[in-house]
Symmetry: C2
Subunit: 662 residues, 2 copies
């Protein structure tokens, strides 16, 4: 039972980066920040709002990010980019240095910024994805997986007791665990006789206790001896661009780890529409189905190997995905999803045997799929809503998932309304020439020197840059706005005198990294065409919030909490996302970033039958708005095609911030 | 609901052969019998107890069965075996003649019997298998198949009604048929979108309403348009020797027809033990499973073609089989069935998808398997009990299934006790040199001239003889006893002076047909070794009755009804079966012969969810006796190794009959 007053699983609100344990002083500004010991100096500077020119993303090969260590201890490397003389003077490469004590640094003249810059609200709120708080789940009594193992010791065979092996097992489960009227899957029966005898009628049964699907406990598997401590499950998120698989230790109530890869369907089309079209070709649907299954197989096996788990020890797979990905994975013809009136064939996919879907799994493994809402709001969103606990929360919440498409949900424990925004994949790197996923070498943070317009870039894993990921694009747009290079229409100022702005094939572009500093041997740029795509995406999202709020008679002021999910990489800078008009300008402490909400939801469902039983209720109560049919949406969209927005009253803090820079 | 006082489905008691519509007078005996117009004269004579020498089984090639037509009309053939002179005199071949009016015949001297012979109780009761009385089933309100079709017309798609196809279908089933909380099988979903649109959202759903397996109606299939009049199912009996498949028209409540073939597993062993041993070899179980599936596939397709039914129109398959055949068909390791304490892995096999078992069927077809009682009393017996209605009958009934093994059930509506008799396959032709199944050319009836010891044989389909089937063996044994050729120990009298008795490789033997008259080009004989096997089989059965009755404190006098099931071919002569001690000597009107009770039971289960819901209850209340562990059985067995029995008081009418012959 649920403890009284419990409002669903809450994500831990992550702490601000600024709250650290070592003091770093940046001179000549006299700015002091607290950072965690071991933090990289370039990161620390960026977080503190201190610009240091840096071109190679942090790999240490451009040699531009030199700082002078005035006092304190750092771990660093003496590369050939620092002369013996510089080294003796105390110069170090910021990107190669980690803080070991309180330190005092000096930014040399080359990197020095206008003093105004340092007071900008750079590090307002940088959210890292919240981790799932299993203690919370357990304290709330929610850690109660639907799939459980039961060890039984059965009485020996005697001439007077020759009931069937199956009856003997059922009787044992009844006597030792109080389980009655057990149903079971046929495939178990084939091996039952040998399994029971292998450890002399001591065996472990795997049962599914989710009443949503079975009225009685459902027996799925039986193993020789006591295997209750070896019980695992997979949670899977099939995104249009990326497939994630997470391995869960059900016996311990722990997440072991995850693995991800590009969706193999990308070779048949980047977006949903292209894939639906492809599915109608000869063998098209089969190819798409196979690609998804193949992704999951590879990721599952990678995790099994890494954590030394046998596939036989997995009890089930939970899958969350958008509606099209769900249809394609299950091999269900998706054509009606894109034909008016956009009808999915199925929203609640019945249990299916995993190997019937091409997963390389033993017969006892079934797939549970999270219910969808409509053709455009899928099980990934329902999973996120379940994981975030909104459906039990009295607080009015705006849930935003920015992935290949953008979906939004508004509501609380009493009601939920949702819509898909057709935002496109810009914030996943799609439709942007140098856009990429948040992998090693993706530029994820940027600062621009407002005088020299030279950039300071930091990449994922601090490797030489290869492209720009979603969070990098947001941060770059905000930095371009703030440095006055970009006007509110998304066009580069024709008057700016810097070689970083040039005419390219797609209009003007800003050169973020020059060829020699990159992994790809060519300049990494952001063009006006790229910016146009980003603006369309963010406008679709913002128009979605406004339209949905209008339709339920609410305004932004009513929103007490914003939960942000999606493929931003490892963090999102809320300040910058607001600055470009992607997120509403609400008090910053109302924002949370949950990362891959879909994967977390699928994981939670494997851990809690309470949530499992709530899933269809949530899917059922959610009201779906088709924005293209909703009055006002087009006007709201056009109004949002501006940085941050044509109606500046929506963005009071951005006005303040932008005014400040002049 | 069941009508009050209804006692289960009753088989129609078949009429005696003697009750016919044309009068035949056999001179010189002056014996008159009524037979149906069109009846074969050889058959008519045998039934009337009139011996006519006949060696070729009725094919017309031996020319021995000449009779003189004194008056009346027959259809006949003038073969070269009758001279023009004989033909002109009025001689005809009895086996080639069919009665068209009242006729008077004369048996010529060559075929003439001692006048005593004609007064023997030859035609006491010849039972043909009862047919299933569907009118009875329907009157009783039992015709209520668990699988039913429902036609729905769904509302058109509109922009404001974009619920999923599945929800639309479920809503339609709810609105138009009052069905709620429908569960469903995944495989349906893949085709749902196209099927619904094919006839503009008019469709027919196939649902399983058997509450035994699903609490709610379970949706299995959906077809475009209205297909409610096309709904079929298969019933299957997997016997150790023969596999039977019956096609049922569920929409009309009619049996369409059946097909049968030898069990393909015969090539891996004749009996259950040999096959279990074979199953333990490399790929052995797979081969046995495949053989059974292959049998069923061929028979199904034969029926589908014959009756122009598509496999897609089949809703399900019901299988009844003995416990070993059940394990082998499902690919369940059977080794523990033959190891003490003889434990089946499973008695109630869960529903399994037919194609997972190798049946060539679409995904929606599942297999329902009749529950077994023990390792040696299987679902074939439970099916027979259900079909015969014993479980609802107040009359104390003895149910006997004589197939490859013999199983018996005693009881009534209040209790049921069962046992397997290890009778072996003698009455299916196994362990008898010229034994065979009741196929074309099998000797099924025999009379022996008590003076000349020449036989009169009739074969199935009246073809030249190939061997002797079960009913033929019973009739032959009785004829040998009656003609005084065989003594009560089952040995041929050494004093009999006839060339029909001779020494063979396996002791003395009776020559039933000489090589030139057979299809096989060798003499067809019955040896003392064959007789010993037959006696062991009948002794095991009889000892079973006595032991089971003893153990429940009853005697033969208490039995009000005997139901005989099994592979005797198209009929069984009760008088002769009693004469050899295979059946108890009870008033003849207490006997019924139901033919393949297992197949009929499987058929009934497809027609009545009432019976389906009774099935497990019946299986659960039945008490199984392991005869080998039951005191008294061995003594009873030894006492029964005599013709008809060492304790002659069990067989008062046989004493009377045998005494009469001297």
């Amino acid at each position: 039972m649920m403890p009284k007053g419990y409002k669903g699983v809450q994500f831990k609100v992550p702490k601000l980066r600024a709250a650290m344990s070592r003091k770093v002083t940046f001179n000549p500004y006299g700015i002091t920040a607290r950072v965690e010991e071991g933090e990289n100096l370039l990161h620390a500077a960026l977080d503190a709002g201190v610009h240091i020119d840096a071109s190679c993303g942090g790999e240490g090969v451009c040699g531009k990010c030199k700082i002078l260590l005035e006092s304190g201890e750092i771990d660093t490397v003496h590369s050939e980019l620092l002369s013996a003389e510089d080294w003796a003077l105390g110069f170090r490469q910021a990107c190669q240095s980690r803080i070991r004590s309180d330190v005092v640094l000096r930014i040399p003249a080359l990197s020095l910024l206008d003093s105004r810059t340092i007071t900008r609200r750079r590090s307002g709120l940088v959210l890292r994805p919240a981790s799932i708080d299993l203690d919370d789940l357990q304290r709330a009594g929610l850690y109660d997986p639907a799939f459980q193992k039961r060890f039984v010791t059965l009485p020996p065979l005697t001439p007077s007791n020759t009931i069937s092996d199956l009856s003997r097992l059922k009787e044992g489960l009844g006597r030792q665990h109080g389980l009655k009227e057990i149903t079971l899957d046929f495939h178990l029966v084939r091996k039952l006789g040998l399994v029971l005898r292998e450890k002399d009628f001591q065996a472990t049964a795997t049962l599914d206790f989710s009443r949503r699907r079975y009225v009685h406990p459902h027996l799925l598997n039986v193993e020789p001896g006591d295997t209750t401590l070896r019980h695992f499950a997979f949670a899977v998120d099939i995104g249009t661009t990326t497939v994630w698989v997470q391995l869960i230790d059900i016996a311990k109530g722990e997440i072991m780890g995850h693995a991800a890869d590009y969706n193999g369907q990308l070779s048949y089309g980047d977006d949903i529409i292209t894939r639906i079209v492809f599915s109608q070709k000869e063998q098209g649907l089969e190819k798409l189905q196979h690609a998804a299954a193949s992704n999951i197989n590879q990721l599952m096996h990678r995790l099994l190997e890494r954590y030394r788990v046998s596939i036989d020890e997995i009890s089930h797979v939970t899958i969350a995905a958008n509606t099209t990905m769900t249809h394609l994975f299950y091999g269900i013809d998706p054509r009606h999803l894109r034909l008016p009136p956009y009808t999915p064939t199925v929203r609640n996919v019945p249990l299916a045997r995993a190997r019937d879907m091409g997963l390389e799994t033993p017969a006892h493994i079934f797939i549970n799929c999270v219910s969808s809402i409509s053709s455009f709001v899928g099980g990934d969103i329902v999973a996120g809503i379940l994981a975030s606990g909104i459906y039990k929360d009295p607080k009015l919440t705006l849930y935003i998932d920015i992935g290949t498409n953008g979906e939004i949900v508004i509501g609380n424990k009493d009601w939920l309304a949702c819509a898909a925004c057709s935002a496109g994949p810009a914030f996943e790197g799609g439709g942007v020439q140098f856009g990429m996923r948040a992998m090693g070498g993706a530029i994820e943070d940027v600062s621009i020197n407002p005088k020299t317009f030279e950039p300071m870039i930091i990449t994922v894993e601090m490797l030489k840059p290869k492209g720009i990921c979603g969070s990098g694009l947001i941060n770059l747009l905000a930095a371009l706005m703030e440095s006055n290079l970009l006007d509110p229409n998304g066009k580069f100022s024709s008057s700016s005198k810097t070689s970083r702005i040039r005419m390219g094939e797609n209009g003007r572009e800003y050169v973020l990294a020059r060829a020699p500093d990159t992994q790809i041997g060519q300049d990494i740029t952001l063009s006006e065409a790229d910016i146009d795509n980003l603006m369309r995406a963010k406008a679709a999202m913002f128009a979605g919030y406004v339209t949905l709020l209008d339709n339920v008679g609410l305004t932004f002021e009513d929103i007490e909490q914003v939960i942000l999910a999606g493929g931003f990489g490892s963090y999102v800078n809320i300040e910058n996302a607001i600055a470009i008009g992607l997120l509403p300008d609400l008090p910053r402490d109302r924002f949370q970033f949950v990362g891959n909400g879909s994967l977390q939801g699928a994981t939670f469902l494997a851990m809690s039958r309470e949530l499992l039983s709530e899933e269809r209720r949530v899917a059922a109560i959610m009201t779906n708005f088709d924005l293209s049919e909703t009055p006002g949406f087009m006007n709201n969209y056009i109004a949002a095609m501006f940085l941050p927005h044509t109606q500046m009253q929506y963005f009071p803090t951005v006005i303040e911030r932008m005014n400040y820079r002049y």
